[in-house]
């Protein structure tokens, strides 16, 4: 692909101003915001389940207007810093449509599942602030949503490639677009001033150990993505399971028995939390 075409496509993708958000989450968050007894933890938890709303909140709190770009990577902190008025405004102004649900069936469950997996992995590995890893897990396929929204015809072509050639979604993206969602994630992270650790997590999850900074972030998302696909929670756009990079496990200093512990914890949470209930 020529550089010109790539720049043009990048421009089209980044022109995304109003990413859609899911109406169900919107209603719930609005209800909590209006209830004086609700806590910011409850609201943060709810917002954390919607990757589009999460991305918007993080984009806003990391914008230069607030004076500390690239510093905040958890929703809970973003809520404290933005305040409920801004959150309310953000939600009200959000255009609501279900495109994501219809054009990428199962991606939402896949993303929420991956967030949960990353949280558990980070805790198992003994990292501080497991929520940050969860945010990266939640947003790791954001690039796929953006392509579906901004370049719908390319999205269709990718789907055809996945079906007919039995490719990984990632490979099909490269064939059709010349680049894949991890690259788009990096662009979006820069465009929105997201903190470097988040950027690495969402842009590096397919080549985790090559990350220069915060390689552990990329490794956690890589392993989380693998596990959630193995458990077949939701869908990342294809039916294949990407290869697990053993170097990623080594870098996290996790052995296979610990991975079992993670899987058990995930299964428990999926049952207890009813991840697929009322969704999709």
């Amino acid at each position: 692909m020529s550089d010109d075409l790539r720049t043009e496509r990048k421009g089209q993708l980044l022109a995304v101003k109003d990413l859609p958000t899911l109406p169900k989450v919107l209603e719930e968050v609005t209800r909590l915001l209006e209830d004086p007894n609700s806590s910011s933890q409850q609201i943060a938890k709810l917002i954390s389940r919607d990757q589009v709303l999460s991305a918007k909140v993080l984009k806003m709190v990391n914008s230069p207007i607030y004076g500390f770009p690239g510093r905040i990577s958890t929703i809970q902190h973003a809520l404290v810093l933005l305040g409920f008025n801004v959150i309310k405004g953000l939600i009200i102004s959000s255009s609501v449509f279900e495109l994501m649900n219809t054009s990428m069936v199962g991606l939402w469950e896949h993303s929420v599942g991956c967030a949960m997996a990353c949280n558990i992995i980070a805790r198992e590995a003994g990292f501080k602030e497991p929520e940050e890893y969860a945010v990266a897990g939640l947003l790791h396929d954001l690039g796929k949503v953006i392509v579906a929204l901004q370049l719908p015809s390319a999205k269709e072509e990718i789907d055809v490639q996945v079906r007919e050639e039995d490719l990984l979604y990632l490979e099909a993206e490269k064939k059709v677009l010349g680049f894949s969602h991890d690259r788009i994630n990096a662009w979006v992270a820069d465009h929105w001033n997201l903190p470097l650790n988040l950027k690495v997590g969402i842009a590096g999850h397919h080549r985790p150990v090559t990350a220069q900074h915060y390689p552990k972030m990329a490794c956690v998302v890589h392993v989380g993505d693998f596990l959630v696909r193995t458990l077949e929670v939701g869908s990342g756009g294809d039916d294949l399971v990407p290869r697990l990079d053993p170097d990623a496990l080594a870098l996290l200093q996790l052995d296979l028995s610990q991975l079992d512990t993670v899987l058990d914890a995930m299964l428990l949470e999926i049952e207890g939390d009813g991840l697929s209930m009322g969704l999709g």
């Binding site: 902190h77 404290v80 810093l81 305040g83 903190p195």
Partner: protein, 294 residues
């Protein structure tokens, strides 16, 4: 004169000069609340006079309005170089002139007292607010917030990183205070790493807890990764020796005004300063409440 007829003489006092240079001397010696400049002056043009006043930092807060006799000068006016606060084009109705003068006066007091970084109200507004509550004999809780180890952070990372921390602190305080809705809630920025907030006495302790919690969990993200993991920074102290400095924390001192025991703003700040020493002597984030109210 037109302007003198706008308000009764006992409310607004006007001093009129025919020539720019004479006016300047008076303005510099005894600045008025508002300066009205005719664009068409002998010797010194209105725009030049405006700029002479505005170029001096001590007179910058003086609101200046330019009076034009026709719209035409506006076409060539460079608003970047003529630093007036507003203008009037004659002929103008009495109502409009009166309203525009009031607006300019109020806008100036709002804008100029605000802290340039956080845009929170500054000292003048803070003192006014507190004195007003004291005068009305209303019970309130007044909290002084400042950061521990801010200076060593600033020294190591530079002032723009320090400003980030101040912006974050301001947001944490504002949003925490705002979540306790009520007519009393107020947040001001004294300057540097000193902030003030006012709340009703019954919720203030809970607010302090929330501020401490939020600040402590957010502030590590403002350090470089290695310092964050180490849990302290290495920086030189006042004598130039390398020293370990703990992560930044908040100290809050709370003064209560119950049974109208405070008579003057100075009393409140005096008590708070003593309490603050106590709060700062406690390592990490802490708050101290003035319990002498009973």
């Amino acid at each position: 004169m037109f302007f003198q007829s706008l308000w009764p003489g006992d409310e607004v006092e006007w001093t009129v000069f025919q020539r720019g240079p004479m006016a300047l001397e008076q303005v510099f010696n005894a600045p008025p609340d508002l300066l009205l400049v005719d664009d068409d002056l002998p010797q010194l043009s209105g725009a030049t006079l405006v700029n002479m006043v505005k170029s001096e930092n001590v007179y910058r807060q003086l609101p200046v309005m330019l009076c034009l006799s026709a719209e035409s000068p506006l076409e060539t006016m460079d608003f970047h170089s003529v630093e007036m606060d507003d203008f009037l084009v004659f002929p103008v109705s009495a109502l409009e002139a009166r309203s525009r003068l009031s607006l300019t006066l109020h806008r100036a007091s709002r804008e100029l007292d605000a802290n340039p970084l956080t845009k929170l109200p500054g000292n003048t507004s803070i003192i006014q607010r507190i004195q007003d509550l004291i005068d009305r004999r209303e019970p309130f809780a007044l909290a002084y917030v400042d950061l521990d180890h801010f200076k060593s952070f600033n020294d190591k990372y530079g002032f723009s990183r320090g400003d980030e921390v101040l912006m974050m602190t301001a947001r944490v305080i504002v949003n925490t205070i705002r979540s306790f809705a009520g007519k009393l809630s107020f947040v001001g920025h004294v300057g540097g790493d000193d902030f003030v907030f006012i709340l009703t006495p019954d919720v203030v302790e809970f607010a302090c807890q929330r501020i401490v919690e939020s600040f402590d969990s957010i502030v590590p993200h403002f350090y470089d990764q290695d310092d964050q993991e180490r849990g302290f920074i290495l920086s030189t102290d006042r004598k130039g020796a390398l020293q370990q400095f703990a992560m930044m924390s908040v100290s809050i001192a709370v003064v209560f005004n119950a049974d109208a025991r405070l008579k003057h703003y100075g009393e409140a700040s005096q008590i708070a300063m003593n309490l603050k020493k106590k709060a700062k002597s406690i390592p990490g984030s802490s708050y101290v409440l003035d319990r002498r109210q009973e």
